[in-house]
C-alpha cells in the first residue's frame, strides 16, 4: 500500500505539489493524469525516493519511502538514463546485480517481443528503441509498486501492445501500478482508477467503470471535462 500524506514540494520558490493526499491500494492499476507541469513526475520521483518532499511524507506499507523501499518500488522516468557505454545485455546485468526482483528471462522475452537485439550499444539506439529498453528493464522486475512515467511515449503500436500486455500480466493482488500518460485513450480499458492532478493539487479520483456506469463518461471525456478551460464539449 502506498500512501501520500499531505505531500508538498517546491523548487526555488515555485510550488509543484501542494498538500497531495491519497492512498493507492494493492491489486489495482492507477492512471495519474494531468497536463505537463501538473506535478505527476515530481510525485513519482518522491515516491521513488529520488527526492525528498518539502512537507508531508509518502509511506510504503507504513514506512517512509527511502533507500530500502527502492528494492520494492520500480520507477521508470520519461527520459533515457542508462550509461551510454552499456550494451542492452549490460543493462540486464546491471538490473540483475542491484535488484533481487529482476527476472532475466522476462527481460529476454520482452526484448525479443519488441525486437531489441542484446548486443546493441545504448548510445546507438534510436529514441524509440531506448524507450522500449527502458520499459523492458523496468517491467522485467517483479516489483510491488510500478511507477511508469509515460510508458508509451515514442513507442510504435505493436510494441505498445506488448507493453500493455506486460502491464496487465504484472498485476496481482500484492502489486500496484501507476501509469501517467498523455495517450489517455490507450489507458481506457486497462486502468481501474484515475487520479487527476492540476497545478499540484488533486482534483478528482474516479473509479473508471463506475464513471461509465453512473455518468456514461469515458476516461477521455472526464479528462476533457476537468482540464478543458471552457467546460468541455457537450456530446
Amino acid at each position: 500500500m502506498l500512501e501520500s500524506r499531505n505531500v508538498s514540494k517546491s523548487f526555488y520558490g515555485k510550488t509543484v505539489l501542494n498538500g497531495v493526499t491519497f492512498t493507492l491500494e494493492p491489486g489495482k492499476i492507477y492512471a495519474l493524469l494531468g497536463p505537463n507541469g501538473s506535478g505527476k513526475t515530481t510525485w513519482m520521483k518522491l515516491a521513488a525516493s529520488l527526492m525528498k518532499p518539502s512537507a508531508g511524507e509518502i509511506l510504503y506499507n507504513g514506512e517512509s519511502v527511502g533507500v530500502q523501499t527502492r528494492a520494492d518500488i520500480a520507477y521508470m522516468s520519461t527520459e533515457p538514463f542508462f550509461y551510454s557505454w552499456m550494451t542492452i545485455a549490460d543493462v540486464g546485468k546491471y538490473y540483475a546485480d542491484f535488484f533481487d526482483d529482476f527476472d532475466p528471462d522476462r527481460f529476454r522475452t520482452l526484448l525479443s517481443k519488441m525486437e531489441l537485439p542484446q548486443n546493441l550499444k545504448v548510445r546507438t539506439l534510436s529514441s524509440g528503441m531506448a524507450a522500449k529498453l527502458k520499459i523492458a528493464a523496468t517491467m522485467a522486475r517483479k516489483a510491488k509498486i510500478y511507477l511508469l512515467d509515460e510508458p508509451f511515449n515514442g513507442i510504435d503500436l505493436i510494441a505498445r501492445d506488448q507493453i500493455t500486455e506486460s502491464i496487465i500480466t504484472s498485476l496481482s493482488p500484492e502489486v500496484t501500478l501507476v501509469l501517467s500518460s498523455h495517450l489517455v485513450e490507450e489507458l481506457e480499458s486497462i486502468v481501474d482508477t484515475s487520479i487527476f492532478i492540476k497545478d499540484g493539487n488533486i482534483v478528482s479520483i474516479c473509479d473508471i467503470e463506475d464513471l461509465r456506469t453512473t455518468e456514461g463518461k469515458s476516461l477521455a471525456e472526464k479528462y476533457r471535462e476537468i482540464y478543458f478551460a471552457n467546460g468541455g464539449n457537450e456530446k
Binding site: 521513488a48 529520488l50 527526492m51 525528498k52 533507500v67 530500502q68 523501499t69 527502492r70 528494492a71 520507477y75 522516468s77 527520459e79 533515457p80 538514463f81 542508462f82 550509461y83 557505454w85 546491471y94 546485480d97 542491484f98 535488484f99
Partner: protein, 246 residues
Amino acid sequence: MKNLLKYEFRKSRSGKLIVFLAAMVFELCFLLGIFLPEAESLWVIGMMGLVLTASFGIFMIGLLSVVNLHSDLNTKQSYMLFMTPNSGYKIIGAKVLENGISLFASGLLFGLLASADLVLMAAREGDLMSMINTVLNNFGMSLGPKQIFWAIAVVLLSWLTTITMAFFSVTLQAAVFNGRRFSALLGIVIFIALNMIVSALIHSLNGLIPDASAYVSSVVWMIVFAAVTAVLYFLSGWITETKLSV
C-alpha cells in the same frame, strides 16, 4: 557494495588502460635503452616518459573520476545509482574506495617499475648513480626502493585526499546548486576555496611534527591525509544521503 565497486571500476576502465599501455611502452623504451648500446638515448626517453605517464596519467584518472561523479549527480544518469537500494554513503564510498584501490595499484606498478629501473640503472650507469647518491647523502637522504615506495605512498594518499575534496565539492554543488547555470563552475570554485583552507590547515601541522626520520614523518603525513580523506568522505556521503535530489 561489491556491485557498486564493480561498476565504478568499469566506468574508469578505458582511461586506466591508456595509462597502463603508455607505461608499458615507455618501460620498453627504457629497457631497450639500457640493454642495447646503440639505443642509448632511449632510456632517457623511457624514464622521462614513465615519470610523465605516472604523474599526468594519475592526474587524468583522478580528474575523470571527478567528472564521472559530476555526471552521476547532475544528469539523468543519476537514476542508475539512486534508483538502487544503496545509500549515499555507499555510493560515494564505492567511488572513494575505487580511487584508493586504483591509486594503490598504480603506486605498486610505478613503484616496482621505478625500483627495478633504478637497479638496472645502477648496474649500467654505476658511476652516475653513486654520484647522485653521494649528493643526496649530503642532505641526509638516499635513493633506494624503500625511499621511493614511501615517497610514492605519501604522494598518492595526498592525491586521494585531493580527489575526495573534489568529490565533496561536487556533492555540495549538486545538492545546493543543482540545475542552476554555471553549476560546474561553482563546483570548481568550492573546490579551490576548500583546497586552500585544507592546505593551510595541513601546513600549520608542519611545525608540530617533530623532525624525526623520513620514515616516521611519512607515516604521520599518511595518517593526516587518511583522516582528512575520511572526514571529507563522511561529509560527502551525508550530503548525498540527506540533501541531494536527482
